[in-house]
Each structure stands twice: as C-alpha cells, then as structure tokens.
C-alpha cells in the first residue's frame, strides 16, 4: 500500500541553515498492517509523518513515496487525503471561529466529492456523527464548539480519532496520539483504531512508548534513530525497547 524508498529530507532552521532530518528511510506497508515507529526525541518520526501528509517546508533531496502505486510526491495535502491518507496530528491546531461540526461535514463531503461519491445531506451526516462521537466518548456539545479551541489535550486527541472514524482513511498515521493521555483516553484511542482495523486499511503508529502498543498490537515495529530506521522487528521489539531503552541501539548506530 505504501512504499517509502530512500527518503532524504532536510529543513531550514531559523538561521537559514539546512538541517538534515531524514537520512534514507525505507518502509513497506502492506494492506491491513499496523506498523509502529518508535524512537527517541528528535529522531525524525514526526517529520516523516508530516511529509507523508504533504506539509510544506521540507526540502526532499532524494527518494520516493509511493501510495497505491502512485507517486504522491507532488500531490497537495487535500489530494493525498482524497486518496485515503490521514494524519492524526501530534498537536491538533485550534481554529477559532470554525465550527467543529461544519468543518467535519465540509471535510467529509469534500473527500466524497473528490472520490466521486454523492455528498451527505445534513440529516445523514448528523446521524453518522452522533454515532461516531459516542465511540470516542466526547460529549455532543464539542460538535458545536470551534475546532479544538479550548479543548484539553485528551479532548483534542479524541477529536482527532473522531475525524479518523468519520473520514475512514485507507492509511492512518497517528503521530504521538498517545502522548499526554490518561489511561481512559488511551484506551478510547486504541478502541477507535482497532474498530477501523481491516484487511485493506493500514496504520502507522508513531510513539515513544510501548504503552499504546499494549492496546493496539502492531504487526511490525521499527526503531528510528537520527533519521534512519535502524531496527525492524515484531511486536516483541517494543517490549525489548521498554526494558532496555534506546541507548543500546543508538550505540550500535555510532559503531556502524
């Protein structure tokens, strides 16, 4: 479903100096698989997630991103969304003045339109969202508020999961969706992901901690350090990391 080949990326810092973030990432995700990407702070995990979703501002010097046999490299974020890519943001943006429900309806209908489906009318949409919002344990009053404005950390992440449930992506990237969550919220997020798991839907779970992976059991675990995937394994790798930390792997990077 998704293939990332030898991806190199850098950004310009405040002093206009180029800083290399990704140094040759290779990933191959098949339909139905859940991949976890773990690694210490500053290893480039969030950069990778943002580049996949189409955020501007990165200088990509080499590599390819193939989604469903299509190179999505030049596509705008909304075109990637229409293909079925979804990024659950690490820091969901507060947008004062934009009503949460209006936004969700506009987003869903825009995707449906781009996919050649008919737009949902107000009644159908309302029925749908009232069901979905229960799944993420948010009160319906959140629909009438501005997007993420004044939401707590946990409420923002639940709102991300609500959007994911509504938009039903084919590939969802969760960028540290577990950070700052209490155990109830963590389980809600996991429940949301697990309810969407299917043969032709894939997930990339970016996280620091093994905790989330107790609830969302991954097929593959990658360890990313300094812009490179240095180790790939099964779900047991996450447990090993939890016990030993990242230090021993980082040493290996230095040695090699």
């Amino acid at each position: 479903m998704l293939q990332i080949k030898n991806l190199h990326a850098s950004i310009q810092d405040e002093k206009q100096k180029s800083k290399v973030i990704l140094r040759g990432i290779n990933l191959n995700i098949k339909p139905g698989e859940v991949h976890a990407i773990m690694g210490p702070n500053g290893s480039g995990k969030s950069t990778l997630a943002n580049i996949l979703a189409g955020r501007a501002g990165y200088d990509i010097s080499q590599g390819e991103i193939i989604f469903d046999e299509k190179n999505i490299f030049t596509l705008a974020p909304e075109e990637r969304a229409a293909l079925g890519l979804f990024l659950a943001f690490q820091y969901p943006v507060e947008i004062p003045g934009v009503n949460n429900m209006y936004f969700l309806k506009a987003a869903l209908n825009s995707l449906r339109k781009q996919r050649g489906l008919n737009e949902l009318d107000a009644m159908d949409f309302l029925t749908l969202i009232k069901n979905k919002i229960k799944e993420v344990c948010l009160n319906e009053s959140f629909l009438h508020r501005a997007v993420n404005e004044g939401f707590s950390g946990g409420e923002k992440k639940r709102n991300e999961v609500l959007q994911m449930l509504m938009l039903e992506p084919r590939l969802a990237i969760l960028d540290e969706t577990d950070s700052g969550l209490d155990i109830d919220a963590l389980q809600t997020v996991a429940k949301g992901v697990n309810s969407l798991r299917s043969e032709n839907r894939s997930f990339i779970i970016v996280t620091h901690y093994q905790r989330l992976l107790d609830y969302i059991v991954p097929d593959v675990v990658h360890v990313m350090v300094k812009g490179k995937i240095i180790k790939t394994g099964g779900k047991e790798l996450a447990l090993e990391l939890e016990a030993k930390g990242y230090g021993w792997l980082e040493e290996q990077v230095v040695v090699s």
Partner: protein, 317 residues
C-alpha cells in the same frame, strides 16, 4: 421600511408607526430641531418621541448618485425611545455624509451602516453621537466598496450610565483601495462604558489606517473602556496601520486596548487541507472565521441579511 434616495432625490415626508421623518422644508417649521443643523438642503430629520419604540428597522438607501452628493442625517431619540437605523450606500461617485445622533435618557439606538459604494467612488462620512443618562447606542459598520473611504466617529458620553458599543468590519481587496478610521470616544461622566471592536481583512495593495482614541475626563470615574483592532493580511503588499490611544485624567477606571496585524496561520491551513478541504476553500473558511466574532455582534436579522448579501457579493467577485 426602506427609504431610497435615488440620484439625490430626498422624499419630503414619511410617517412610520407614528414617527416623523422630514426632509428639510418641513423640518424648518419644527421647533424641536436645533438651529445648528439647518446648514444644507439635503437633510433628513428623524424624531422619535418619548417612549416610542420602533419595532422595524429604518433603512436609508442611497443609490446611483453619479455626481458628488452631500447628505445630512439628524436623529433625535427622545427619552425611553428605541430605534434601529441602517444607512446603506451604493453610489458611483463621491458621497459625503454627516450623521448626528442624540440619544436622550434611557434611549436605545441601533445604528448600522453598509458602505458598499462602487469601486471607483469615494466615501467621506462623519458620525457624531451624544448620549445622555443610561442611554445605549450600538454602532456597526461594514466598509468595503469605495476606492477611498474616510470614517470620522465622535462619541460623547455626557451622563452617568451611558454606553456605546462600536463594531466594524472592513474587507478591502482592491489595489488602490484605502480606508481611514478616526474614532474618538469621550467619557465625560461617571459609570459610562464604551467598547470598540474593529476588524479588517486586506488583500492586494489595499491600505487601512485606524486611529482609535479613548479620552477619559477628570470627572469620569469608574468608567470602562475597551478597544481592539485586528487585521488579517492576505497579501504581502497590503498595509494596515493601527494606533490605539488612551488619554486618562480620572482615577479608578478600567481601560484596555489591543491591536494586531497578522496573516493566515499556516498550521491551521495545513490542518484543514490535510482533512481534504482544498486551499481556496480552506482560506475562505479561515477568513470567515476571523470575521465571525465581529459579525456575530449584529443581532438584527434584517441588517444581518443585508450584511451577508453584501459580503456574498464581495466573495464572488
């Protein structure tokens, strides 16, 4: 009720729910009007007697004036009266208007203005408001049409408990478009209250200049005055100037002011696009969001509709 002033022709007299609206010749005979206002012939007088509350808004609509035109509005809202008035301008040349509002004790005046002149026209307006005890005046103005527009607003809160709320929105989008706002709010008496919220969205090479001044006289203790002016620039060449001023000679007052000039938040734009909204749609949503709070302050449905119609036209061009 809409009173259309087409090509500068003022209707002589109107009667709405017992309220008199006069053009000059008739008004001269009425001793109730101050002598000072008989300065020109294009004057409309509106006199709301004591305890009369007008349910429906009055609407002065200026259309198609193709030569320079001067107009003068005098509104006297007597004790305990209530009035909603909308001035709307859709002219092709130069419009020059002076509006005076006198709000007596406990009067409620809702004054709105839609400046939707032709993009080649100029608009020069002066609004002066005098308020007595416990009167409340709401001002709302939408300025978006004229090539060059100037709005002078002077508020005088003469007596205890008088309150004036000023709101304005100015979306400018043409290269040569210029707008100036000069607002003075004078607090003369104790326990008076004023509030200003003005927001502008500027595109292309348009320019705006806002100066808002709150003056608190020595006798005006325990007053509240808030002032804010915010801008969203949609192009690198647009210019917005903002100069909030406070001059305070009284003790124990509560005054705040704030001004910002900003751009579309790139993170918000990316967030919307990542969910499938295209760039144009996302921009539209974010600019509408910027204006939402000030537009929401207009509660009158008729005026709200007129504003929405004007803005819809603006968005389609």
């Amino acid at each position: 009720m809409t009173i259309t002033i087409l090509n500068g022709k003022i209707p002589e007299k109107f009667e709405v729910e017992g309220v008199m609206l006069y053009a000059l010749p008739r008004a001269r005979e009425q001793s109730i009007f101050p002598k000072s206002v008989f300065s020109d012939n294009n004057t409309l007088f509106l006199y709301i007697p004591k305890n009369v509350r007008l349910e429906k808004p009055l609407h002065f609509l200026y259309q198609n004036n193709s030569k320079q035109y001067f107009s003068h509005h005098v509104i006297i809202a007597n004790e305990n009266s209530e009035l909603t008035l909308l001035e709307e301008y859709q002219n092709n040349h130069a419009m020059n208007v002076t509006t005076e509002i006198y709000a007596s004790k406990n009067a409620r005046v809702h004054f709105a203005k839609i400046q939707n002149e032709n993009s080649s026209a100029t608009h020069d307006a002066s609004l002066s408001i005098h308020q007595q005890e416990e009167s409340v005046v709401n001002v709302f103005s939408l300025s978006n049409g004229a090539r060059s527009a100037r709005e002078l607003i002077k508020i005088n809160l003469h007596e205890r408990g008088a309150e004036c709320i000023l709101n304005g929105f100015y979306p400018l989008k043409n290269d040569e478009q210029k707008l100036d706002y000069f607002i003075d709010v004078n607090h003369h008496a104790k326990h008076t209250r004023s509030e200003m919220l003005y927001k502008g969205i500027l595109d292309k090479k348009s320019k705006s200049n806002f100066r808002g001044k709150v003056f608190v006289h020595q006798a005006a203790k325990h007053i509240t005055a808030h002032q804010s002016n915010h801008h969203l620039l949609l192009s690198k060449e647009a210019e917005a100037g903002s100069k909030p001023e406070l001059e305070i000679y009284a003790d124990d007052v509560k005054c705040t002011h704030g001004a910002t000039v900003g751009q579309i938040d790139p993170d918000a734009l990316f967030y919307l696009r990542a969910r499938g909204l295209d760039e144009k749609e996302s921009m539209k949503l974010l600019t509408a969001a910027f204006a939402a709070d000030v537009l929401d302050r207009m509660k009158n449905n008729f005026i709200k509709n007129q504003i929405n119609m004007t803005l819809a036209e603006y968005c389609h061009e």
